[in-house]
Amino acid sequence: MTSPNSGLSSYAATEARSMIAGALAMLVYASLVLRVMFKYKPPALLVSTYLIAAWLVTSFGLWFLVLR
């Protein structure tokens, strides 16, 4: 039996599954920012913006390998 909201729940559950990949990419991103900031001490805006590329590569890499 399916409830009227089961479609919505299923949609949200699918998004949540992808969010796990996004969160793992966030972990990689934050770890990289941490390392670069401690080691080289560059301006924060520069590092935190450029390293978004690392988030994109990791999340879409996981999407390609696991979620697609």
């Binding site: 909201n5 089961s6 729940s9 299923s10 949609y11 949200a12 559950a13 699918t14 998004e15 949540a16 599954r17 992808s18 969010m19 796990i20 990949a21 996004g22 969160a23 793992l24 990419a25 966030m26 972990l27 991103y29 934050a30 770890s31 920012v33 941490l34 900031m37 401690f38 001490k41 560059p42 301006p43 924060a44 805006l45 590092v47 935190s48 913006t49 978004i52 988030w55 999340s59 879409f60 999407w63 979620l67 697609r68």
Partner: protein, 147 residues
């Protein structure tokens, strides 16, 4: 550093800094909705964990620490950038909590009440993040005792 609520920090935060965070967060939410609509929930879900607020927050933390040090005539560039690194460490720990949050939603959202699952997952995120921070503090404390 022990985790605690510090209401005085709110007084130091200017209104436009809060607006800025809401703006970036709001824009990321809208963008995620559009991406999910165009490419489906599998792709859209990725962006639920997009680092939208972090660059703005990191910049503000850097600015605050620099200003604080400037008041006592110290060049706070290094200190401010170390503060950003610490902010990133907290973010990394929060990300582990977010993985657990997503895992619980994914597994239980379909056959259990949504409010209960979201509540449980939020608590799991909070507990995981705090436990990781405290665990790191304990391990660091133990090692520094022996060094």
């Amino acid at each position: 550093m022990v985790i605690k609520f510090k209401l005085s920090a709110l007084r130091r935060t200017r209104w436009y800094e809060i607006v800025l965070r809401f703006l970036f967060g709001g824009l990321a939410t809208i963008a995620t909705g559009i991406i999910a609509k165009l490419y489906g929930p599998v792709t859209g879900g990725l962006f639920l964990a997009f680092p939208a607020i972090f660059p703005a927050t990191a910049t503000l933390v850097e600015k605050h620490v620099k200003e604080k040090k400037k008041k006592v005539h110290i060049d706070g560039v290094n200190r401010s950038r170390s503060a950003v690194a610490l902010e990133a460490r907290g973010t990394a720990m929060g990300s582990v909590g977010l993985v657990l949050f997503g895992l619980l939603l994914w597994r239980f959202l379909v056959d259990r009440p949504a409010w209960l699952v979201v509540l449980a997952a939020s608590l799991a995120w909070l507990i995981t993040s705090i436990v990781l921070w405290e665990l790191r503090r304990l391990i660091r404390g133990r090692f520094s005792t022996f060094s």
